[in-house]
Symmetry: T
Subunit: 149 residues, 12 copies
C-alpha cells in the first residue's frame, strides 16, 4: 500500500487558475489548466507516478482537500495563486501533511506587483519553482521524483 | 445578442451585506439588501438596463460568480465589503472580466477604522463610489450608463 | 432664503485643473474645466440647483473660498487635485462648513502612483466619487440631490 | 424563551481545528475537537448551559454560522484559528451579534511566530483566553457564566 | 514541603492597580484590589490553594518580589498593568521562575489604545486571560488548578 | 531705535484661525481672533510691548510676512495651525529671523489626531506652548518678556 | 476646605532633575532645582497659591506621589524628564487625578535627539510648555491660574 | 517664432530664495538672487539664450507661472526650495509642460536634514544639479544648451 | 555558430559555494560544488548542452564573468548566494545579457533568516528554483531546455 | 586626592543580575555576581585599582548610584541588563558623569532576541564589550586601565 | 607641484559602465565609456585640466583607486553606478580624500526604480549631477573648474 | 599540531583600515595599522600566541582569507569596517569556521551615524569589543586567551 501512496501525487490549484487559457488566448496562450493536468499525467506516468488534480476558488475547499490528503499521497504540488499571499489557513493545513510539498507559480511573482512578492506558503514548502509557465508544474514533478528517490 | 449583454448588469455583494437593515433598524435604517436590489431594478429599467443581484459570505463563491460573468454582462458593480481589504483572489477575478467595474461602499470607508482605508479592489475598478449609503449603488448605475454610452 | 441656499451648490477645483483639455487634446480629450462647469450647470438646472464654480492653484485661495461658503450653499463638491494628498489647511476649512461635502476625482486615484492613493480630504467628506472623468462631477450632483432630499 | 436563549452557547471553530488530535497524537496529545466538544457539554451542563459546537475550514461558512446565531444564543465562544489573523469578514459578523463573545486559542499565540501575535478578532470580543490548551474552552465557559450572572 | 509549595499561588499586581475602585466608583465599580484579593482567597481555598497578594508601583519592587518567589510557589498570576507594555526587566525576572505563569488584565487590552495592544510579558507566560474584569483573576486560578492537576 | 524694536512683537496666525469664535459659538466659545488680538494688546502694554497681529490662509503670505519682520521686531509668536504639520517653507522663513520665536497652539495637539502630533515648526522655535486656548498667546507674551529681560 | 485645595499646586520632577545646576555651572547655569522651587514659591504666593515640590529618580515613587495627590491639590505641574518618553505607568497615574495637569520641559524637546520628540505624557496633560528653561515652570503657574479662574 | 522660443529659458525660484545674500552675508556670502539672475543673463547671452527669472514664496503663484510657460519657453530651470519636499501641485504643473526641466539646488540637499533628502520634483525633471551654490544655475544653463543642441 | 551558442550554458556561483561539502560532511552531505558541476555536465550532455561552471567570492569577478557571457551562451544559471540579497551590481549585469536567466538556491531561502527572504536578483531572472539542494541546478537545466525549445 | 579617585572604579549592575549563578547552575554555570565582584577585585588590585560593586533591580536606585558617583570615581563599568534596552533615565544619568564609561554584557546581545539588539546606553559609553561572559567585566577593567594611562 | 595637482582630475566609474554603448546601440546610443573619456579629455584640456579615467566592476578596486588618489588630484568625479546604492566602503574612502568630489549619473536616478532613489555616496560629495547622459560628466568638469577657481 | 593551531590567531581588517594614521595624523593620531599589528604581535607573544595580520579593501578577498583559515587558526579577530554593515558574504564565511570569532571596532559605532549602528557580523561572532581605539584589538587578544583557556 505504501507503494501506491508513493506513486500518487496531489496537485492543488488555487483561485482563478480554472480560467487559464480561456481568456484572451491570443495573448496569454491557449494552454488551459486541463492541458496542464494532461501534460502532468503523461510526464508523471513516465516517472512512475499518477497525479490527482484539484482546483478551487474557495480557500476552505483547498484546506479540506489538503487535509484529506494526509497519508494518501507521496507528495503535494501546490499553486495557491492569490491565496499564496494571504492564506494562513492553507499554511496551517500544509503544516499538517507528512510528505514533500512543492510550491509552483506560472509567473515569476518577484517580477510582478509588490504585493505578490511575498508568499506565506513558501516557508511550509520544501522548495519553490516559479516563472516557467506551465513547465513549472512539470519541473515540480521532476523535483518530487528526486526527493522521493 | 450583444445588445442583450449591453443591457444586463451584475451586482456583486460581499460578506455580511445580507444582514443589512435586519440589525438595529432604529439605528442603521430599515433598508435591506433586498430593498437595494429592488430600487436598482427600478432605476435600471428607467436607464434601459436589467440587473442580476448576488450576495455571498464566501470569497470563493464571489470569485466563481465573477468568473462566470465573463461575456454575459455589460458591467459589474461590486461592494466586496470586508473582502475589499483582504482579497487578492477577487482582484484577480476582476482582472479577468472584459467590461467596466464600479466599486461601491455604503459608508465612507476613509472615515472609518484605519484597516478599512485601503481597498485592494480599487486599482482593478474603473471608479469608486463610497459614502452615500444605498444611493452609492444607484450612482453606480448612472456611472455605468455614462461609461457605456 | 433657506430655499435659495438649498438650491446653490459650490464646486471647488484645485491646482492645475484649469489646464484640463488644453493640453494634448488628442490624448486627454478636449473637455475643458469650462465644459465641465457648463455641463454641471445644465444638469444642476434639471435637478433644481444652481452651481458656483471656482478654481485656483493657490491653497490659501481655496481655503478662503471654502470659508466664505459657510451658510451660503446647500452643498460643496470638491476636486482638490494635488492638494488632496497634502493639505491639512483645506481639511480644516472643510471641517468648518455645515453642509454636505462630496469629494470627486477625474481619475481613479487608487490606480495611479502610490502617493496619490491617500487623500487627506476624504475623512472630511460625506462620500467620494472617483474615476469617471468629467462624469464624476455629474454623479456628485446626483449624490447631492439624494442627500438633500 | 429568553431563558432558553440564556442557556445555549455557540462554540465556533476555524480552519484545521478538525484535525486536532488526529495528527501525531504521541506528540500533540490524543484530545480531538470531539473530545473538547464533549468536555464542554459536560461542564456546560454543570453550569446550567447547553452548547452548540461548530467547525469549518471555510471563512464564508463561519460568517454564515455567526449570522444565524443572532438572537438564538446567550454567548459565543470562538477559536478562529488561522482566520484570527486575517479575516475582516468574521470581525464584521461578530460586530453584528448582540451577546458576549469570548475569543479562545489553544496555544499562547504571543509566544509563536510573529504573524500570529495579532488577532483582528480580539477588539470585537469581550475578552481573550489563550495558552491553556483544551482548557481554554472550559475557562471560556466559566467566563460566560460570570458575564451572564 | 512540595505539597505546601504546590498549594501557594503568588498574585503580582503592577502600577496604579492599588487605586482600583477608589476612583469614580459610580462609573468603574466599587470593587477594590482588596476585594479582588479577598475573592481570590475564597475561591483559592475552594480549589485547595492559598494566595499571596502583592502590589507595587515600582518596577524594581516587582522584580524583587518575583525573584524571591523562586522555589516558594506553585504558580504566579501577574497583572503587570502599565509595565506589561514596557518592562523587559519583569520579563527577565519571569524567565527565572520555575512554575506556571498566567498573565491577566482587567480590560481587553486589544480594544484599547494602540500602545496597549502589545504586552512584552505574554511570551514569558503560559497563557493570557484578559477582558473579564476582576473575574480574569478568578479564571486564572481555575487555569492554574488545571495546569497543576 | 533698538528700543523700539525691542518693544514690538509680531503675532502670526495660520489658516482657518480667522474663523475662530464665528462657528458654533455655543460649543467652541465666542472668543474670536480679534478678541485674542485685543487681549494681547492689553497685556502687551502692561508688559511694555506693542503687538502686530497678522493672519492669513496663504502659506506664501505667511512666509512673506515673516521675511519682512527681520530686524523690525523683538520677538515672533506663531500659531501656524494646519501649516504647522506640513510647511517646510515657513520653517525656512523662521530660520531667517534673528529674534526669539514662540510656537503656540490653542489646543493640545498631542491629544488630537495622529497627524497633528508632529509640528515641523517646533525645532525652529525657542519654545512651544499649547493646550491653553486663547491663554496660550498670553503665556507666550510672558515667555517673550522673560527671554528678552 | 475646597479653598485650601484650590490654592495648593503639586510640582513633580522626574529623574536627574536633582542634578540641575550642580554640573558644569559655567555652561548650564547655576540655577538648581531648589532655586526653581524657591522662585515658584515666590511667584505662586503672588498668584495666591502655595506649591509642594517633589523630585525623584524612581518611576514608582513618582506614581505613588501622583496617586496620593488625588483630592489634595488644585493642579499638577510635571516635568517627567526621561520618563516623559517611556513611562506608561505615569500616564496611567495622571489619568487618575481630577485636576488640571501642565507638562513642562526646560529644553525644547523637539529640537533635541529624535527619541526625545515624543512624550507619552502629553495626551494626559491639559497643555504643554517647553523650551523656556526654568521659566517654563513659572509660565505653568500662570497657566494654572488662568485655568482655575 | 520657434527660434524665439528655443532661445528663452524660464528660471523659477521657490520660497525664501529672495532672501539669499541679505542675511548674515559675512557667513552665507553676499551673492543675492538678483546677482544670480544677472550672472545667468550674461552666461545665457553667451550661449545664445535669454532668461526670464521668477521668484515667489507662494506655491500657487509658482504653479501659475509654470502653467503660462507652456509653449513659450525652450526650457525650465527650477529651484523649488522648501516646496521641493512637499508640493505635489508643482509636480503636476511640471508634468504639463513640453520642454526640458532642470532641477537645481544651491546646497547638497543629501548632506542636510533627513527631510530635505527627498525631492518630489526630481522624477518630473530631466536631470538634477545640486550642491554647487549659485553655480548650480549656470551649470543648468550648460545642461539646457546640451539638451537643446 | 548560433547552434554552438544555443548549446552552451553558463553556471555562475557566488560566495562561499566553493566550500560546499568540505565542511562537516556528516551533517551537510559530501556533495561538493565540483560534484554539482560534474552532475550538471552529465545531465546537460543528455539534454544536448554543454556547461561552463564558474565560482567566485568576489562580486566584481561575478559581474565581469556575466558581462563577457553576452552573445556566447544559450542561458545562464545563477546561484548568487549571499550576493542575492545585496548586489545591485549583479542585477545590473544580468539586465545586460540577452538570454534566459534561471536563479537557483540550494536551500529554501524563504524558510531561513528574515534577511535571506528577499533576493534582488529574482526580478531580473526568468524564473526561480530553490530548496531542492543540488537538484535545484539540475531542475534549472530542465527549465532551460524547455525555454529554449 | 585625585590619585584616590583615579584608583577607584564603580561597577553598576542592572536588574536580575543578582540571580546569576543561582538558577540552574548545571546549565548556566555556578559563577555568581559575587564571584564576578571578587574576580574583579583581584584583577583590579593587580592593575592598581579598587572597585565598588553595586547591583539593583530598581531603575531609580541605579540612577541615584550613578549620580553620587560624580567626582568620586576614575571610571564606571555598567551592565544595565534589561534597562539597557529601555532606560532613558540611566542614559541621562550617564551623560552627567565626567569619567570614562564602559558598557558590558555577559551575552552577545546581537545574537539574541530582536528587542535586545538595541542598547540605548551605548551612545553614552566610551566603548562596549559583550559576549564574553564574566570575562566581559575583566576586559572592561583592562579597557579602563588603557584609557586612564 | 601644487599646480600639477590642481590640473589633474580623477574620474572613477563603477560596475557595468564598461558595457556602455556596446549593448543595443540602436536603443541606448553608440556612445561608449571610451567616448566619454575622450570627450572629457578634450573639454578638460580646454579648461586647463587633464583627466585620469578609471573603471572597475570591483568595489575593492574602486576603494583602492580612490585611496591612492589622495594628494595626487585636484578633484574627483565619480559615477559609482550600482555601488552608489549599497557601498559604505566607497563612502568611507571618499571621506578620506582632501579635494572636491562630484557625483554624477547618466540617468535621472530619481525617475527609476525605488531602490535607485537613494545614493549613500551623495552626502560625501560636494554636489550631484544626474540625468544628462554623457553630458553629466562634462557638467561635472565645469563644476570642478568653478569650485577650484 | 593542534598546539600550533591553538597558538595562531588570524586578524582580518576590512576596507580603508590600511589608511589608518596616514590621514591628518595631528587629528586622528599617528598610529597606523602596521603599528597595531606590531603591538598585537608583542602582546600576543606575551600571551603565548602568534598573529597573522591581513587587510583588504575587497569583500571577496576577505571571504577568501576567512575560508582558508578553517582548521589553521585558534581564533579570528575581525574588524570588517564598512563591510560590517553590508556584507552577508562575510557573515556566511564566518559561519563556516570552527574557532572563536571576536568582532572589533576602533570607534564606538553606536555613537556614530545611524547606518553604522547595525553590524550584520555581530550575530556570527562570539563577542564584540568596540570604542577603545587600537586597544580594541589588544582587548580582543585577552578575550581570545580567556575563551581558549
Amino acid at each position: 500500500m505504501i507503494n501506491v501512496i508513493k506513486k500518487n501525487i496531489l496537485v492543488v490549484n488555487g483561485p482563478n487558475l480554472n480560467m487559464l487559457g480561456l481568456r484572451e488566448p491570443e495573448i496569454y496562450g491557449r494552454e488551459t489548466l486541463d492541458d496542464i493536468a494532461e501534460n502532468m499525467t503523461v510526464r508523471a506516468k513516465e516517472l512512475g507516478f499518477t497525479v490527482d488534480f484539484y482546483q478551487s476558488n474557495s480557500e476552505g475547499d483547498l484546506v479540506d482537500r489538503i487535509q484529506v490528503a494526509r497519508g494518501k499521497y507521496a507528495a503535494l504540488i501546490i499553486n495557491a495563486a492569490a491565496f499564496s499571499h494571504t492564506s494562513v489557513a492553507i499554511v496551517d493545513a500544509l503544516r499538517l501533511v507528512d510528505f514533500p510539498i512543492i510550491e509552483v507559480h506560472l509567473s515569476n511573482i518577484f517580477a510582478r506587483e509588490e504585493f505578490r512578492h511575498h508568499s506565506c506558503i513558501s516557508p511550509a514548502a520544501n522548495g519553490v519553482i516559479c516563472g516557467f509557465g506551465a513547465n513549472s508544474y512539470i519541473l515540480a514533478l521532476e523535483a518530487v521524483r528526486n526527493i522521493l528517490s
